[in-house]
Structures are given as C-alpha cells and as structure tokens.
C-alpha cells in the first residue's frame, strides 16, 4: 500500500524490539470476542488510476456551475478565484500544518490569521474579529449564544429576512440549550415589524443584510431600538462581496457581525467547507467564541504572533468555556485572506460594482417580462422575482432542457410557506452577457 512505508521485515523487527510475536498482542485489552478476525465487507485497496476513475465517474454525474449559465446564490456564490489562491493554499507548510500551538514554528499560519482578523474587522467596520468559524450559519448560532452571555438574557429575535438555514441552526442550538427564539415570518415584502418584537427580555436581534430575498436592510434604526431595550444587534452577511459596495454593519451600530466568507477564495463545493467571519466590539472580546491570534514579542524582542485569550476556550475551561469549538476554518480563511489581498480595496470595490451592475441588468430585463415582478426595491447582486409559474418547476425545466441553472426557488428553503412562485436570482461577475441574455430568453419562453 503506497502510503505505508513499513515493510514486512520492518514490522517483524519492530515486533521483536517490543517483545511480542504478533501485532494482535498489542490489542490485548480489546475483549477477545470483539477483535475482528476477518476483513470488513468493503472493497480492497486500489491504485491511483482506479481511484481517479471511480471518483471522476461520480463527479461526471453533476452539472457544474461553469458548464451552465449560472444564477444560484442564497448563501453560496460563484466568483472567479485567481489561480494564485489555490496554488498558495496548497503549499505543504500551510496545507499540512496543525493548529499553531507551537508558535515558534508556525509564525506563517499565525501572521496570516492576524492579517485575516484585521481584514475582517476593517471589512465589517468592527473593532475585533476572530480567526474564523466553521461557516456563516454556525457563526450565527454562536453569536446568539454570545449575546445571551453578554446580556444575561435568553431570547433571540430573528428577522424573517434571515437565511432559513441560519434561522434553523439558531433554533436548533437554542432549543437544545432551552433558550427562546422568536422567529418572524418570511419577510417577503420587506415590511416586517421587527421593532415590535423587541422587549425587555430580548438578548439580541438577528438581521441579515442584504437579506435572503436580496434586499438591503437599514440596520441603524434596528440597532437603536435594540440598544434602547438593552439588547444587541447581530448582523449577518451571506455575501461578503456586498461589503465592497454597501455600508458595513459596524458603521450602522451592529454589536456582532457574522459573515459567510465563501465568496472570496473558496469554491462552491456543494456547500462546504466554507469559512465564517466573526467580528465584534472590543469590549465583548472575552465573550467571543473561537480562536484569536494576537501580537506579542519573542525573547529577543522581535514581533511575533500567538493564539491568545485561550482562557475562554474548552481546553482550559472545559464545561465553563464560551464555546465547545476547537478548530476554525484555517485553510479557507487563508484562501479568503489571499483573495482579498490580491483584490485590495480597489479590486474589491470594482468587483462589487461589476456584480451590482450585472444584477441590475438582469433585474431590469426580467422585470420587463409580462407577468414577472421583481420584488426588491434595493439589492446588491441577488434579488427575488415573482413568477406566473411554479419557480421550482421552472428551475428544473431550464436545467434539464436548456442547461441553465436559473436560481434558487424560495420553496427550496421554505417548502411550506406558500411561496412557490418566488425565485432568487444571483448574478455575479462570472456571468457573461450571453449567459444573462440566455436566462432572460429562457424564462420569457417558459412562462
């Protein structure tokens, strides 16, 4: 087996050195009737070529985003990732290194995390950011728990504009922890009365902007109302490229900001692994979940970086930790950071403008079709259209007949909400003018 360097004679020598006859003697503590004396019912070892053939056959059964005019979003976005990103994250020293517990020989990872934290804080308009979370949705769940710890209250108010998967993650975690969640109905019309749901028992209000329907939400009045009631505003962003074009949540009064960072550096990958961005006000830093990297000096006075404030974490605090989280999304955070470094402020701003422009073009064209209505007054690169037909059926049909991935039907996220005629359409820089024209023509023909 190509991954196993020991030869039969090595094994024999090693057993002799240990002083046992067989390797099974080392399993002496396993109850004898439980030690398997046969191979399990699984295939035998295979060479590279054969594995490639099997995996490629499975991969070939999927329709790839690049092979189709592509307009899916709803929390995962197709952007062009520079070749440099994937090359650099495959450097052995980044790819095959562990969590930087020995800082003298992991300054590479640690400096990247320090740069990442600064990029995230600046991008969200916040004072501090952690070294990343599993993804945006789990970050949102952790943000709610953090708000509970800070306010010593246990009820979260969740906007109907929050991505339904995120709302379900929050509800699951809170339900298990016996906390309360007040989740508003899907905010299709953009007219939900969030402020009325805030009361003296509210720990936080969770609001997404742009929301799951694509609408850009004015966070300032919500922050003010939350603060007046002694609650926090948790702002969620599922498309970080939007922050190149719109005011960051930090400038609008958010106390905790959670983003899905997949859009930068990370492929769609059928939903994972992604990277959660998590930022907060510095006064709350000791209640933050996850890893933090901080600056210090070494014994010669040179600047260096270490993991810090670990007294919040499970390996020190055990059942009193702020979170059970042990890992972050290191390599995905690296990809995010490299992509953002390549873009820089000039590139990110331009990328955001291109996304917005392309989305405006498609929204205008679809809005001109008879029977089709664009519901959004505002949006960044994704918006909701109301169709005269069932959206899921339309998406299936266009995928099958035209090879077009037309978007995400709202019913995929909210199957029982009676919103079967709504379609989320995301338009990024990856779409060509031909792709966009093909989408409009195909929908026009199908309705």
């Amino acid at each position: 087996m190509r991954y196993l360097p020991l030869t039969p004679s090595d094994r024999a020598e090693m057993l002799a050195r240990i002083g046992v006859d067989t390797v099974d003697a080392l399993y002496a503590d396993v109850p004898a009737d439980e030690l398997l004396d046969h191979l399990l019912d699984l295939p035998k070892a295979k060479g590279e070529m054969e594995v490639e053939r099997i995996m490629s056959r499975m991969a070939g059964k999927n329709l790839t985003a690049s092979a189709a005019p592509f307009f899916c979003g709803a929390g995962a976005y197709k952007h062009h990732v520079p070749a440099t990103v994937d090359h650099l994250i495959q450097r052995s020293e980044f790819l095959t290194s562990y969590t930087p517990y020995q800082p003298e020989i992991t300054q590479g990872t640690l400096q990247v995390l320090f740069e990442f934290q600064t990029q995230v804080a600046n991008l969200t308009g916040m004072e501090v950011a952690n070294a990343s979370m599993y993804d945006g949705s789990t970050g949102a769940g952790e943000a709610v728990l953090m708000a509970h710890r800070i306010t010593r209250r246990r009820k979260a108010v969740v906007s109907g504009g929050l991505h339904p998967h995120y709302a379900e993650v929050i509800a699951t975690l809170s339900g298990m922890a016996s906390d309360e969640v007040s989740r508003l109905a899907p905010n299709v019309g953009g007219d939900e009365d969030l402020l009325a749901a805030i009361d003296a028992t509210t720990s936080c209000v969770v609001v997404q902007s742009p929301d799951v329907f694509g609408r850009i939400v004015d966070l300032k009045p919500i922050a003010d109302a939350a603060h007046a009631a002694g609650a926090l505003l948790v702002a969620v962003v599922t498309e970080v490229v939007s922050l190149g074009a719109i005011e960051p949540p930090g400038a609008q009064g958010a106390d905790i900001v959670v983003c899905e960072g997949q859009s930068l550096g990370n492929p769609l990958g059928f939903g994972g692994p992604y990277v959660g961005l998590f930022a907060a006000r510095s006064k709350h830093v000791r209640q933050m979940p996850g890893r933090l990297c901080g600056e210090t000096v070494d014994a010669e006075g040179k600047r260096g970086f270490v993991l810090t404030l670990s007294t919040r974490e499970q390996h020190i605090r055990r059942e009193k930790a702020t979170s059970n989280i042990c890992t972050n999304a290191g390599l995905c955070a690296l990809a995010f950071s490299i992509h953002l470094t390549l873009l820089g402020e000039a590139g990110l701003t331009r990328l955001a403008a291109l996304n917005h422009e392309a989305a405006c073009e498609v929204a205008d064209a679809l809005g001109n079709l008879p029977g089709v209505e664009v519901l959004n007054d505002t949006f960044f690169n994704e918006f909701t259209v109301k169709l005269p037909v069932n959206a899921a059926a339309l998406v299936e049909k266009l995928a099958k007949d035209e090879g077009i991935l037309a978007g995400v039907p709202v019913s995929r996220l909210l199957p029982e909400a009676g919103l079967d005629d709504l379609l989320l359409v995301a338009v990024t820089e990856c779409s060509t003018a031909d792709d966009r024209a093909a989408l409009v023509a195909a929908i026009s023909e199908a309705i």
């Binding site: 090693m14 030690l35 329709l63």
Partner: protein, 520 residues
C-alpha cells in the same frame, strides 16, 4: 581552469574568528523577515484585473458605501512572495515527523486534493436542482456507508463541520432521544481524562457534567462508572482508545452499565485511527461517535481546519439524525433536507449548519478509503499501533511511561518523572525538539498525568524515520540528565522566532493591525 582564477570553491576562513550570527536585515538566509500586508500593501494596488464598470444605475438605495475600507492590495508577484515567505515559517507533515498525540498527523495524499478539485465536486452549488447533483449525493452516501461498515453502526449524520461539532450533533441526538422517551436525565458522565471539548459540548446544550475519576493505571473502572450512575444520568462520554492512548479494558461492562440505567454511550472518535478494521465501536456498545475525517481519514489539517466530523449512530439513535440526510431508496441516494420530506420513523431534531456538510472533505476521505480498501485501512491501524509501541519500547529505559501496565494503542504517553531534578520542564523539552528539527509532541495533555508528553507517530513513518526520532529523543534525555540545561531553557534557538511572550499577548490583547500614529 576557471576556478583557479575565478571564485573560490572551498571554505578558506577556518582560521578566522567566526562572526556573530546576526545580519543587517534580520533575515537568516532562507528565513526572511516578512512585514504585514498592511505595511507593504497599498489601497490603490490590485492583483486582479477586472473590466471597468460601466457606471450608472444603482439599486443600493441609501446604503452605498461612502467610507474607505482600509484594505491593502498587492500585485500578484508581491502576493506570491508574501505568502511563500510566510509559509516557510511553518512546520508541516510534508517536511517532517509530527508526533502530536491525539491529532493523528498522518500523510495527506495529494490524490485527495486532486479529486476534491474535480469541477464536478468543487464547482457545484449546494442548492442546484437535486437532479443535477446525483454524483455529489453518491459521495455523501458512499462515505456514510464506509463509516457505518467500519464502525458497525446503523446511520451516519454527515453534516457536522468538525470533531467538536460532531460531538454536539451526537449529544443533541441523545438529548432528543431522552426527550422522546419522556426522561429527565440531565447528567452526563465524563472521565477526568477526557478532551476539553467533551464537557464543553455537554454543558453547551444544558447537560450537567459529572466527572468520573481515572484509575492509577490510566483506564476507567466499570465500578467507578456504576458508582457515578443514578436516575439522573442520561449519557456517558468516553474516548476509546482513551486520551492516555489505552484501550479501555472494561469498555463492554461500562457500556452495559450506562445502557442498563437507560442512558446512552457517546464515544469520542478522536482515536479511531488505532482500531479501524480491528474492532468495531458498535461491538463495544457505542450509541454515537463522531469521526474526525481530518485525523483518521487523512484530510489535511490546514493550519487549524477545516475539519469534518460525521457522526455514526446506533439503531436507538438513528431516527434522530439531524437534517439534512441522505436516504437510500431503491439503491439510490435521496436528499432529505426538510421535515416535510421525512417519513415515519424519521424524527430529526433540527439542523446544524447551512447546506449539506463538508463536501470537500468527503471527497478527500473517500479517495483515501478507496485507496486503502478494507485491507489497507486495517494495515494502517496496525502500523500506527506498532509504531507507537516501538517508540515506547525504544525509550522506556530513559523516559517514564505513564501507564506501563497496558500496551499502548496508536500513541504513547510519558510523564515528566524522568526530568525530575534536571531543571528542565516538559515545555523546555518540547522546545528543544524544535531545534532538533521536530515538531513537539502534545504537551500537558491529558491533564491526569504530570507534565504529559503524548507521542503519536502514525503509520506514515518509515522505520528509519522512527529510529532517528528515537535517537534524537534519547540524546535530549541524556543531555538533560547531564545538566546541559541551557540547551532546553534557551530553546528554540534556531526557529524563526525564540519563545514568544504569551502573557503579554493576553494582558493587553492586540488582535489587529493599527496604523502607526502620526508623529506629533
């Protein structure tokens, strides 16, 4: 004879006084000091060429950004150099033995990386019509099938994003099962030797944690578990093989005790690499166990994630698996992502993450499983156990094995008794290993022994590599005992940084770069 007249071809300075090992730049040959992107980047530089926007229509409403972001940019060559230089300050499995106990730093095959990057896996949206992702569902189902077969369990919840997330998933299933049975059993037993995530996970979802003592031989006694069980105990969390690197000899009796009390047995699967194909967790009574794909199944650790932590569930817990999951119908995988799609007997307790889990890790793990096969996986576990015991045998006369009464599994635990009176601590010893070119072992964990050193060589090392490692450690032990203390207390001397001041970092946390204040 150009070399006679040209540059010298041999060292000629032997009689000169050596210069101090300092440079004008602070660089040391291949190890180059690298500034932060915020110090070398510029806001108007970009390494990505994009067409100019046409300008005009805006639907951003009143929310267009008006403030600068303060994000530096680098041109592509600058960016490549920045990250390549930083990378060279990291230790990695690819560069050397990485004996971090409980972390399973095994070889990460590059075939896995290649497979994960096939466009059919990497370039697929999680919410595309399910008819366009049949191959992706095949991968999810296939990894689940392998994990169930290897563990003997009934079902596998694939969505957890890491080991600790998998623990959460499993403990939530237990909580849901207790609730469905109308039982109020809020206490979870956790041995003192457990990893910190175990008590943290249990507490996070409202369980009370009750500690079970470790025996002097490093194992958990069934009698102690029985003594700790009362009506309020709903579950036991136990790592097996345990964090001391030992297989729990009374595991069957322990499992029977928790089951007899109406509770469930959660096993931490962190150490599964010792027993794949050798013994199945279902056979020793496990009800739920997470599997760290980034340990046992070779997906890269990536400097701290992403991981993946699918949870296998026994028949008693299978019905409670969280959304989404894949059901096999007529031999084909069907995606169930909402309660409305469930059938009788499927009572998911909720959702743990957006979308479907760590697909990129599933493709890597499946490549690893297919490459090894049932025979190779079993051999890998045997080699991992053999290597740990070989290291132990070769060091037992000089270092102190914490629990000599049991054979080790895939990792061997030493305590610091062998350093008594030397003035050298476990930390010093670890830092001296850095100077010798090794990543240190896990230090000060588990907490049940003094100055713990937990060595896990994995199956990826050749015998020559193990022999060199052993010789290095033997040399260090002899140096410590001979009073060569500075070698340890001054270490590391040759790493990109000397010891870092962690107290200073925590006292006044500096967690992001701030522009230097302008001179008054």
């Amino acid at each position: 004879m150009l070399n006679d007249k040209g540059r010298p071809t041999r060292p000629e300075t032997a009689d000169e006084t050596p210069m101090a090992a300092s440079t004008f730049t602070g660089n040391r040959a291949l190890d180059v000091e690298e500034a932060l992107i915020f110090e070398i980047g510029r806001a108007d530089v970009t390494g990505v060429d994009l067409p100019a926007p046409k300008g005009g229509a805006s639907r951003l409403g009143a929310h267009a950004r008006t403030t600068p972001i303060a994000l530096p940019g680098l041109a592509e060559p600058e960016a490549v150099r920045h990250y390549v230089r930083l990378s060279r300050k990291n230790y990695s499995i690819d560069a050397g033995l990485y004996p971090l106990g409980s972390c399973t730093m095994k070889h990460n095959p590059r075939l896995n990386e290649k497979m994960a990057r096939l466009p059919g896996f990497a370039d697929v949206h999680p919410l595309q019509p399910v008819g366009t992702v049949a191959g992706a569902l095949d991968v999810v189902a296939e990894v689940g099938r392998w994990l169930c077969e290897l563990t003997g369990m009934t079902a596998c919840a694939m969505s957890p994003k890491a080991g600790a997330h998998g623990e959460l998933a499993g403990m939530m299933a237990i909580k849901a099962a207790l609730a469905a049975r109308g039982l109020d059993k809020p206490v979870v037993l956790v041995p003192e030797s457990a990893h910190g995530t175990n008590p943290a996970t249990a507490a996070l979802i409202g369980f009370e944690v009750r500690a079970v003592p470790a025996r002097p031989d490093g194992t958990v006694a069934a009698a102690d578990v029985k003594a700790a069980i009362d009506d309020r105990v709903g579950a036991l969390m136990l790592t097996n093989p345990n964090t001391c690197g030992l297989f729990e000899p009374e595991i069957a009796e322990i499992a029977a005790a928790i089951h007899a009390a109406g509770g469930y047995f959660y096993a931490d699967g962190a150490n599964f690499n010792a027993i794949v194909g050798k013994v199945r967790p279902a056979d020793f009574g496990v009800d739920a166990m997470h599997i760290n794909l980034h340990k046992t199944f070779s997906t890269p650790h990536g400097g701290g994630g992403p991981g993946a932590g699918p949870v296998v569930l026994s028949e008693r817990l299978a019905a409670f698996a969280p959304l989404p999951f894949v059901r096999i119908e007529g031999g084909r995988p069907v995606l169930v992502e909402d309660v409305s799609q469930t059938r009788a007997g499927e009572t998911p307790y909720g959702r743990l993450t957006a979308f479907h889990g760590q697909m990129g890790m599933f493709t890597r793990a499946l490549s690893y499983m297919l490459s090894h096969g049932a025979d190779g996986l079993r051999q890998a576990s045997e080699d991992a156990v053999l290597s740990a015991n070989y290291v132990r045998a070769a060091l037992a006369d000089l270092m102190t094995v914490a629990f000599p009464d049991h054979p080790s599994m895939h990792e061997v635990l030493f305590d610091d008794r062998f350093l008594e009176g030397t003035g050298v601590t476990t930390l010093d010893f670890a830092k001296a290993m850095i100077d010798e070119g090794y990543h240190p072992m896990t230090m000060y964990f588990p907490l049940v022994v003094h100055g713990a050193m937990l060595i896990e060589p994995t199956e990826s090392e050749s015998k020559a590599s193990l022999d060199l490692f052993v010789a290095t450690l033997r040399g260090l032990v002899l140096a410590a005992q001979a009073g060569d203390t500075a070698r340890f207390t001054q270490a590391p001397r040759f790493a990109p940084r000397r010891r870092l001041d962690e107290t200073r970092a925590a006292r006044a946390p500096k967690l992001k770069w701030e522009p230097p204040k302008a001179a008054e």
